[in-house]
Symmetry: none
Subunit: 190 residues, 4 copies
Amino acid sequence: MDKRQRIIDATIQLCLENGIEKTTISHIVKHAGIAQGTFYLYFPTKLAVMPAIAEQMVTIIHEKLSQIDRSESITMKMQKCIDTIFANTSAYQELTKLVYSGLTQTEEVKQWEKIYQPLYDWIFEVIEEAKLTGGINSELDSGIVARIIMGSIESTAEQIYLFDYAPTIQVEHVKNNLHTFIMNGLGKNI
Amino acid sequence: MDKRQRIIDATIQLCLENGIEKTTISHIVKHAGIAQGTFYLYFPTKLAVMPAIAEQMVTIIHEKLSQIDRSESITMKMQKCIDTIFANTSAYQELTKLVYSGLTQTEEVKQWEKIYQPLYDWIFEVIEEAKLTGGINSELDSGIVARIIMGSIESTAEQIYLFDYAPTIQVEHVKNNLHTFIMNGLGKNI
Amino acid sequence: MDKRQRIIDATIQLCLENGIEKTTISHIVKHAGIAQGTFYLYFPTKLAVMPAIAEQMVTIIHEKLSQIDRSESITMKMQKCIDTIFANTSAYQELTKLVYSGLTQTEEVKQWEKIYQPLYDWIFEVIEEAKLTGGINSELDSGIVARIIMGSIESTAEQIYLFDYAPTIQVEHVKNNLHTFIMNGLGKNI
Amino acid sequence: MDKRQRIIDATIQLCLENGIEKTTISHIVKHAGIAQGTFYLYFPTKLAVMPAIAEQMVTIIHEKLSQIDRSESITMKMQKCIDTIFANTSAYQELTKLVYSGLTQTEEVKQWEKIYQPLYDWIFEVIEEAKLTGGINSELDSGIVARIIMGSIESTAEQIYLFDYAPTIQVEHVKNNLHTFIMNGLGKNI
DNA sequence: GATGAATGAGATTTCATTCAT
DNA sequence: CATGAATGAAATCTCATTCAT
């Protein structure tokens, strides 16, 4: 019904199937079941749809993170955060690729920061809280470290699921290393 | 002389100037000073040039890392590694974007792992050596952590230079946080 | 007005002037006064226009045959049929060639039968009527003989006009032989 | 070994597989295992290979016709001629198509007459002999009728094998009609 | 004779964009 | 708001032909 949403859905599906380059507005409108001209009533270009897709994906992750019990330890929270990102990257491998290359291809790149904000905020809160409750003993800038952590989790997940590093069987081993590294990094247990 | 190299060079330069989308094969051949058809003798499509570019970029970084004195401490080496990646990402912002979206758009994705191998190996050696000389006291898997570290450095650099996070003035502050986080992560000073 | 018809007309005219090989889609659209992309809204390839042309040509011949008075003798009708096919092959030499090689080059070959049907039907009717009125005394299968006759007329006309057999001056002599042969073949005058 | 023959063979095979239009000199030389430039030492263009192919095909038919016993009756000879052409068209359906459209596409068309000469001559001799021995009582011009007959046999065979007329099961029925028609046409048995 | 990398004119094809309905 | 036929600039891609080796 909602034409805007139908455009987004069609774009996701087509890009997943054929890649961004080969997905054209003509294909999108055909797949969305709308007229050629209608596209332009909602988006100026094909790449302008990407932020909407990214937003949708970030929202999914954020919802999962929000369900984590606030009273849990930072160790546990970070564990679950890693699990969530890994699960998401695994499930939406191609979509992740899509969002990445979609965003990097345009001036929309700058929006990345804003779209990711909720995730950074979530980690930020976790760190700040841990600082207060003595969960960690860190001198680090929470805002910056939040980004570093999110980046390291994502890039590790990508290396595994997108770039084919390591047999899938070792995923747990990698996740454990990553978790230890991050907790160490935050100065936990010192 | 070498036509293949001239195609790669032209592709890099044009993509840096105008972005991937707007760089066409027609532009490339014109800039490379070769005939239209000659392009197809070396690459089947525009995107097929990307792995060659990625390789070249990794080579540049690797050469810089190789120049670091082997006798330096791991702390110093990691510092210089961060500096190198940041400098590179800053200098070749667009090329970085290019490599990223170029690689993710094709089946070549899987090559990424292989192309990056030299960089992972360099960090791996640094960690292993530090373990031996007592520079760090880590139980972590060096192969995995090498990838985590490289990922965290790159993603942080990208957030700064590509996604416009943080005013440039704070770059040193971010780098310090990143360095501390990594060294902590490795279990240094425990 | 009708873009499809304009494409067909332009294709015919250009192929008559320059041959099929040298007629390009670019030429066709220019001559038809439409945009390059418009061609592809109606036909996927140049050769896909051929069946439409064949149909048009058969229609022309069929109209001429239809004008022949039904009350004439089979001898007269066959004479006029020969004259019509010869005149047509002579006038549209290149178009005939075009239709032939156009149709044989694609999967459309099978359509030939269907397109030619009206001509076969016309001869079929003539033979059947002659059988009834005693014009001929033939045991032959009218459907099959209709095709044999049409084939012999066309191939003879082609030998003369396309393959340059016999000086033009002898055309009447050839036509007479052909007519006698066909009438004999049908068992006339026995 | 013989490069000329290898070009011809490659051209036949490739045209049978992909059609004339889509067969390029590049494909031919690759398939023939010779260098790009070598082609031009033997043929000026792709279509210039066609007469060589036609010649090859006509030679095959002519050899079969030559094996027919000279002492047989014209009725028998014509029967065997029909059988030979039908068998050939059936076996080399695609090659026939190829030769046809290949020849009609160029100025080489005029060579058709010359290439076919041996076949016309064979029928010519048969008719002339029959005239002498009283096998037929025809006033027709043997040279012209030879062409008419050959044309009618070929076009009928094509209708059956190329254009899909009539179920294969009726082939004998068609051949019988054709034979009767031709013998009648020649004035036999009057 | 034979080679095959290189050429580049020109063909096909695509597709974002418009605009009258 | 919505449509979709038409556009045409510009892209990709082909391929006959050449020529230095």
